[in-house]
């Protein structure tokens, strides 16, 4: 070890050893209190390749990359960049070492222009003008080289999410990044935008850049990467070449057992209409209209899936139906109108009307994280006489009920005296699903049922939702995972910019068509490519809101 020439974040660019891996991690370990996020992890990523890191939420992918980017300090282990041992105590050192990172949640100043964002932190002097003009010409050449077209004078908040992501990539490239790390980059993109992103990545790879792609989507890994590492519970379980593996094998490596990727379901037998929504509008506290006249219906015994990129009104739709937000329009349950803005527009009344709600954000809404599992098991239904004895709550009854749910839904740990925060994402979600489904509701609202949920629990939750449907209940499913929508839904409605863009049957549509609808494109005008039509539309929507 003494022979290693240690540098602080600056591998000498004079001697780039072509055979040396661009990134090599040796024995990286990191724990947060009792939780070991990374256990003795070693990987090698060769220059000019796209390396995927796949794993379920909480497997330690983001922690590992945060160590590489200098956000966390590893408890043990070494980092080698281009064959040189490199200490990365902070992100400045990472940038000096040629590492750029595109975070899941962008780190852009919303009311700055693209140029201003690009030079932020790397200004050449106290005056901005020289830096700005230098960046302008740099962006021009980068745009030409990698098809990274963005208007340099546009203000960030007027750009579509896909374009904002490009700005993040440009920022990294402007800082001379040779290694680009992307953390769940497609979570907020339409399929077409994701394809565009992957084209850009392929281009970057051709130019010799090294790319690390963190994701939980098997398809992206299979389509774009050269090699892939699988993480499970903080450990690196395998590193394989993508060409030599299959989605099934990767899924098994991720979960540690065989999983069914396909959902097994019988055709729906829709009955009478349970939910009817007409011209539903929601205006948020800032005065922005989030739902612009939504009409839809869900029948008994069917699942209506709402597809769309996050932030196009799906959240508001669920919240107004669940009694969390107020709105205007007409909503009927079994033919009876419900109060949307008055005294009885609260969630409690909705539950009495037979509407159960598995919310999008279980940690902020669906559960009280500091409450015990048994306290959470009646949350929202705590005024039920079964849980009360006169003035006092019947805690024994609640606990008995919770234990039943824990057993039936296979929630682990099985101890109802654990606080919700001590359960894994999947088990937290099962806790919510158990509570809402056991009420046998007329209508179940489900938002992002499998976000941050391990594959094993995904299977289980999907089966429960379908079982509820088969029992003749209506289900309104909102998800940003197109795969989930396509495999679960009996009908699909696509939302864009607060409106329903169209309805399709899963058997008669494909990802491309849904992707266009998700970008608000009904039909592609003559003489315009699909990608251009999408781009125009998204930018227009971003400026509008």
């Amino acid at each position: 070890m003494a022979l290693d020439t240690e540098t602080s974040g600056r591998p000498s660019p004079a001697a780039p050893d072509a055979s040396a891996p661009a990134i090599e991690l040796r024995g990286i370990s990191k724990s947060f209190g009792p939780v070991q996020a990374n256990k003795d992890i070693s990987i090698r990523v060769m220059p000019g390749t796209i390396h995927g890191i796949i794993g379920e939420n909480g497997a330690g992918k983001s922690t590992l990359m945060s160590i590489l980017y200098g956000f966390y300090k590893a408890d043990a282990g070494e980092i080698f960049i281009n064959g040189q041992k490199t200490e990365i105590p902070d992100s400045q050192a990472a940038i000096r070492a040629g590492i750029g990172m595109v975070f899941q949640h962008f780190k852009l100043v919303e009311n700055f222009t693209v140029l201003e964002n690009v030079i932020l932190g790397v200004e050449d002097g106290p005056m901005l003008r020289p830096s700005l003009s230098k960046a302008r010409s740099a962006l021009k050449s980068l745009a030409k080289e990698y098809e990274l077209n963005v208007d340099p004078d546009a203000v960030i908040q007027d750009l579509s999410v896909g374009h904002q992501q490009r700005v993040e990539i440009l920022k990294a490239l402007y800082r001379q990044a040779q290694i680009l790390i992307l953390d769940e980059p497609t979570g907020v993109l339409t399929p077409a935008e994701a394809d565009q992103l992957f084209r850009i990545l392929a281009r970057l790879k051709e130019e010799g850049k090294t790319i690390v792609l963190i994701t939980h989507k098997l398809r992206e890994i299979m389509d774009t990467t050269d090699t892939v590492s699988v993480m499970r519970r903080g450990e690196m379980t395998a590193t394989v070449t993508t060409a030599g593996t299959s989605p099934e094998e990767l899924a098994e490596l991720m979960v540690g057992r065989k999983v069914l990727l396909e959902i097994d379901k019988k055709p729906a037998k829709p009955g009478k209409r349970v939910l009817e929504v007409e011209n539903l509008r929601v205006v948020d506290s800032a005065g922005v209209e989030r739902l612009k006249g939504v009409s839809l219906h869900v029948a008994a015994g069917e699942i209506l899936g709402i597809a769309g990129v996050a932030g196009n009104g799906q959240t508001e739709l669920l919240e107004v139906l669940g009694g969390i937000q107020k709105g205007t329009g007409t909503v009927r349950i079994n033919g009876e109108e419900i109060d949307l803005s008055g005294k009885y527009s609260d969630a409690r009344t909705r539950r009495h009307r037979g509407i159960a709600h598995v919310p999008e954000d279980r940690q902020r809404e669906g559960l009280i994280m500091d409450f015990f599992a048994w306290e959470n098991s009646c949350f929202g239904y705590h005024d039920d006489p079964a849980y009360n004895r006169g003035l006092l709550t019947d805690n024994d009854a609640i606990r008995r009920d919770a234990e039943k749910k824990i057993e039936k839904y296979d929630i682990r740990p099985t101890n109802c005296w654990q606080t919700a925060k001590n359960f894994s994402g999947g088990n937290q979600q099962k806790l919510v699903v158990a509570r809402e489904m056991e009420r046998d509701p007329e209508l179940l609202l489900v938002g992002q049922p499998t976000r941050g949920v391990d594959i094993g629990a995904i299977e289980f939750i999907h089966r429960q939702i379908i079982a509820l449907r088969d029992a003749g209940r209506a289900v309104l499913l909102v998800s940003v995972e197109l795969d989930e929508i396509m495999s679960m839904s009996d009908r699909i409605a696509v939302m864009f910019d607060g409106r329903i863009m169209g309805e399709r049957l899963p058997s008669e549509t494909d990802e491309r068509e849904l992707g266009l609808l998700m970008a608000g494109v009904d039909s592609v005008p003559d003489g315009v490519s699909e990608a251009e039509a999408i781009e125009r539309n998204l930018d227009r929507a971003a400026r509008g809101s």
Binding site: D346, A347, R348, R351, I368, H382, D383, N388, L392, N395
Partner: protein
């Protein structure tokens, strides 16, 4: 993943914090040229070794239980009620008005009525900031603290201009009728033949305070309302999801909080001075914040913390009486206790957690030693 047993969380950590606070208090006493060992001796002797000392300690404790509970209930809904002082002041007005209203025949009738009057006035005083928070979003910390000043001015005006008996030079109300006099410990314990000093003002209100502890516990952990208050405190978005009205919970939690602070007046106004005087609360409203912090907003913790602060208050009074240590120094000691138990809680908690974690790991390792890796040869 619970890192340490519950007893360590609720007892060991505060205890270590208190010891550290006392250690630094000792340094301060050393710095002003006095003997800290002698000082602690005087404090213990003056507050815990005689029925006289205990009488005063428990009298202060009673005040702090009421105000500590008041802050706790509001804090369960994550509202920081800094206005206990003002609510207790106005509660005193309520108690005084009830006591002066009629010539009460017996304290058993006067006490519940005065309790109701004090709680009602305290609750109403808290209702205004509560409404401003619930309906207008004005921050409760700002409004409650401003209402302390308003309460002081209102009381000042009323005592000087309205309640002061004709001809009196003292800004205080008339003395309460004898039927509104609460039995002190010397009388209560006298029934059982236990001698107790008749000088200290500790009275039957102490038992009312303990009853209040039990009722607050019952409310928070055994009723729907308490469940809703706690849920709202942990997550407002969660509460709305569950159909709990933020407006309703904000109002109710603050009314209960103000009521508890106002109820304190049965001890200091009715039990001790027997008339309403200026500054009857003597900062108990603010001590209540420290008591609630240290007691982790749990009635049992509040009781124990109130006892500690009662000891500090009485011990501090003794210090200034028998040593050259000024009374103000007790404020320093109290501040250090608050600093270490409240603000610097994690400073003690983290190392203790780590110690328990290390012990747990060692114990896990013992029965099942890790399989050795095959030596690479």
């Amino acid at each position: 993943m619970d890192t340490m047993p519950k007893w360590a969380d609720v007892l060991l950590v505060p205890l270590i914090s208190i010891l550290i606070a006392f250690f630094f208090s000792g340094l301060v006493i050393l710095a002003i040229g006095e003997n800290p060992v002698e000082a602690i001796g005087v404090m213990i002797e003056g507050s815990l070794t005689s029925s006289y000392g205990w009488g005063y300690t428990l009298y202060y404790t009673t005040n702090f239980i009421f105000t500590g509970l008041a802050v706790s209930v509001a804090f369960q809904a994550r509202m920081f009620n800094i206005g206990g002082e003002g609510q207790a002041m106005i509660g005193g007005l309520g108690v005084a008005l009830v006591c002066l209203a009629i010539p009460w025949p017996h304290w058993t009738l006067a006490l519940p009525s005065a309790l109701l009057g004090g709680a009602l006035f305290g609750a109403l005083w808290a209702a205004i900031p509560a409404y401003l928070q619930a309906a207008r979003g004005s921050h409760i910390v700002i409004t409650t603290i401003m209402f302390n000043f308003i309460a002081f001015s209102v009381l000042n005006y009323l005592l000087v201009n309205v309640l002061k008996p004709q001809g009196s030079m003292d800004p205080a109300s008339a003395t309460f009728p004898p039927g509104a006099e609460l039995p002190r410990f010397s009388e209560i314990l006298g029934i059982f033949g236990i001698p107790f000093s008749s000088a200290p003002p500790v009275n039957v209100s102490f038992f009312v305070a303990i009853l209040a502890c039990f009722l607050v516990w019952l409310l928070m952990w055994r009723t729907r309302l308490g469940y809703e208050i706690r849920a709202f405190g942990h997550s407002q978005t969660g509460a709305v999801y569950a159909g709990i009205s933020p407006f309703r919970i904000t109002m109710i939690a603050m009314l209960i909080s103000g009521g508890l602070a106002g109820a304190m007046a049965i001890n200091n106004v009715m039990g001790e001075s027997q008339r309403l005087v200026m500054n009857a609360v003597e900062g108990a409203g603010f001590i209540g914040i420290a008591v609630a912090l240290m007691g982790r907003s749990h009635p049992v913790g509040v009781f124990l913390a109130a006892l500690l602060f009662g000891f500090l208050y009485q011990g501090g009074a003794e210090l200034s009486l028998w040593t050259n240590i000024p009374r103000e120094l007790i404020v320093v000691i109290q501040a250090l206790v608050i600093l270490f138990t409240g603000a610097l809680d994690n400073m003690v908690r983290m190392p203790v957690e780590r110690a328990f974690l290390a012990r747990k790991r060692r114990q896990e390792r013992k029965p099942s030693p890790k399989p050795e890796r095959k030596p690479a040869e």
